[in-house]
Amino acid sequence: MIWQFIKKQGLLLWRNPMQLLLVVGLPIVLITILGTALGGTMNGEPPKINLKVALIEHEDEEKQINRFIEDFSDELPPEMIESIQKGEEFRFIQTLKDTVFGHEDIKAFIDFQEMDLKDKDQILNDSTYTSVIEVPEHFTYEMLEGILTNQNNQPALLVLNNEGSQVGAKIVNDILVQYQDKIGLTNFLAANHLDPSILQSTEEMRFSETVSINQSQPVTSKEYYTVGMAVMNVLFVASTIGTFAFIERKIFVFNRIILANVTRWIYFSAVCLSGTLFSFFHLLIVFGFAWVFFDVSWANIPLFILVSSAFAISVGGIAALLTAISYRFKSEVVTSFFSSILVTIMAVLGGSFFPLGDSSVLLQTLGNFTPNGAGMSAYLAVLRGDELEAISGHLIFLVCFGFAAIAAAAVSFPKRGANI
């Protein structure tokens, strides 16, 4: 008997393209738009940055060092002269080129190019460059003079940034500031006749590998928004079932059903089961689409089925509750309010539109007390590779929510003999 109702609901949904589009088409469209638009923002890896930096020297550094040694050979101790001749730490621009911009990690995202002074105008007009570092005349000579003869007027590099690439320019500036700090330390060590090569260890530490403490798999934006849109839009299944049921009351089909000696509880159970089954299939269709087109796959299928089942029960409960209330008040206002306003609020609280990780604890807690929020948390946990224990709380909440909604609906549903 109940199967006849479910079959009929399925046929009605199938013959109603607008409703079908809203329930199944909309999440697929939204997943496509959001997944494509937000591409790599949450793929669990560092964002892809491609910067282009040019360096223009006005004068050869080696020549400046030789000239400095000639000019100051009488004033500086021989060991210092020897150190300047051999030490990389006094070849500031060469170090910047080799050690900083030549480092493997930096090379991965910065295309560093040495250019001639004659190309300067051309480079400045080329918007593909993030920054142009200009080394003025006598830079190294004056740096050495400042460090070793205790003069305060040290020269400065001229950095020209592309206004259209502020984030990239900031990264280049940060690198240069770090390098400047290192030179400052070198100054200090040299001024105190200490060996500047001890700075090597600091540099190695800086570029050492970063190890994540959390070993879970990262969630990509496509995965996040697939889950977000699926858990939001499946709520429309509840309002659709509620609307179908209300129309049955409105056009007196419900009276026909009652006259066929079908009890209210069979009808009520059919509404509830339709909501649960259709929600479950809705989730399978949406996630199936995401699997085929966006490669959103589930490593732990049984856990995915378990979460989908629990979530479908809660949506079935909502469908029953909406039906019962609309029958009780003989009005579709509640169902309309649910589909037009409440779903959006629940979606925001549940994190369908943006991650709630940075929000207040209150919002996060409220989010987890919505069925879609709890469903989303459970799905994301499964995607991260968590096991059953980690999501059991969400599963229990979803099932309890579903049964609480069914109980509330049973109490609200008009009893036999009431005027429907």
């Binding site: 009605l12 109603n16 056009i251 009276n255 026909r256 009652i258 006259l259 066929a260 005027n419």
Partner: protein, 310 residues
């Protein structure tokens, strides 16, 4: 077969039906006549066990159905005033669904669907979705669904509202056939007195929640035995003439339409001469003066002072 005893229904402060007493015998076609809002539909929902009455009882074969309606529901077919069908399903799918909820299955269901579709003349359109049907076809399917489980007692609530005369005649003939050939007892409600006159053996007339008359057609019409009904037609019906009629003590009741006034006067009273004089005084271009055979409409006018379709 079925008895309604002092049946009343009150919605907040409104008495939709008050102390209604009716009986229906097996094989009869009973008419329940009354204007819109008379309480006919409320009475039907109570006697079909869909709504509990505020007071009174409904007895089926001597037993109250209020506590145990299942027995009555098994033999009742209901044709609601509204089109109670799934408009996105085909005629066949509608019949299949309602057949299955009546626990009819397989070959038997197929046979009954074929039979019903033939009876209502929709065999060729069985695969079409209902929303593509004309108003008359929807009405016919609305009846067909109620016949699927072969009910002994059919309740038809204004089944011809809003359809063309051809479909209306088809439905009325079908109702007659169902009663004649299958011995189905029928309760037919309408505010079209000609339908009730055509179909029904006995008639109940309701107004404002109360039963105001009951009996066979002749018994009801005999209420007007002391009065005659006169129809006055004129192209330029005017206020002066109507005012004169209202003031004339010989006119008991009257109903005014654009070009026609129907009046009731005592059977022994000679009212023609005064009528002609009033028409002359009012410069009325009198078209005709007819003495009508009383209809149920006239009875309703006599009893309530209003036309049935006011």
């Amino acid at each position: 077969m079925l008895e309604l005893i002092n049946l009343s229904k009150k919605f907040k402060q409104v008495h939709a039906v008050e102390n209604l007493n009716m009986f229906i015998e097996k094989g009869e076609i009973i008419g329940l006549l009354g204007p819109n809002g008379a309480g006919k539909s409320t009475a039907i929902t109570m006697l079909s066990s869909l709504v509990e009455p505020s007071s009174g009882d409904v007895k089926f074969n001597g037993k109250s159905i209020l506590k145990n309606p299942a027995q009555l529901r098994n033999i009742v077919g209901m044709v609601p005033q509204d089109i109670a069908l799934y408009s996105d399903l085909t005629a066949e799918e509608n019949l299949q669904f309602f057949g299955r909820i009546y626990k009819i299955k397989g070959v038997e269901l197929k046979r009954k669907i074929d039979e019903v579709l033939k009876l209502i003349g929709l065999t060729d359109r069985r695969k079409d979705v209902v929303k593509k049907y004309s108003g008359g076809m929807k009405r016919r399917l609305n009846i067909g669904v109620a016949l699927l489980h072969e009910p002994e007692f059919l309740i038809m609530d204004e089944p011809t509202v809003g359809i063309d005369p051809q479909s209306r005649n088809y439905i009325l003939e079908t109702v007659k056939r169902l009663n004649r050939e299958k011995q189905i007892t029928i309760l037919y409600t309408s505010h079209y007195m000609e339908e009730v006159e055509f179909l029904c053996d006995r008639i109940y007339i309701m107004d404002q929640g109360n039963l105001i008359a009951s009996g066979t057609k002749d018994e009801i019409k005999s209420i007007l035995s002391a009065e005659k009904v006169i129809s006055i037609k004129a192209d330029n019906m005017n206020d002066a003439f109507i005012g004169s009629l209202k003031e004339n003590p010989l006119v008991n009741r009257m109903v005014v339409s654009e070009k026609e006034v129907t009046i009731m006067a005592g059977k022994e009273v000679n009212i023609f001469s005064p009528l002609i004089k009033m028409a002359e005084d009012s410069q009325l271009d009198l078209h005709s003066l007819d003495i009508k055979t009383p209809t149920l409409e006239d009875v309703f006018l006599h009893l309530t002072g209003r036309a049935l379709r006011d």
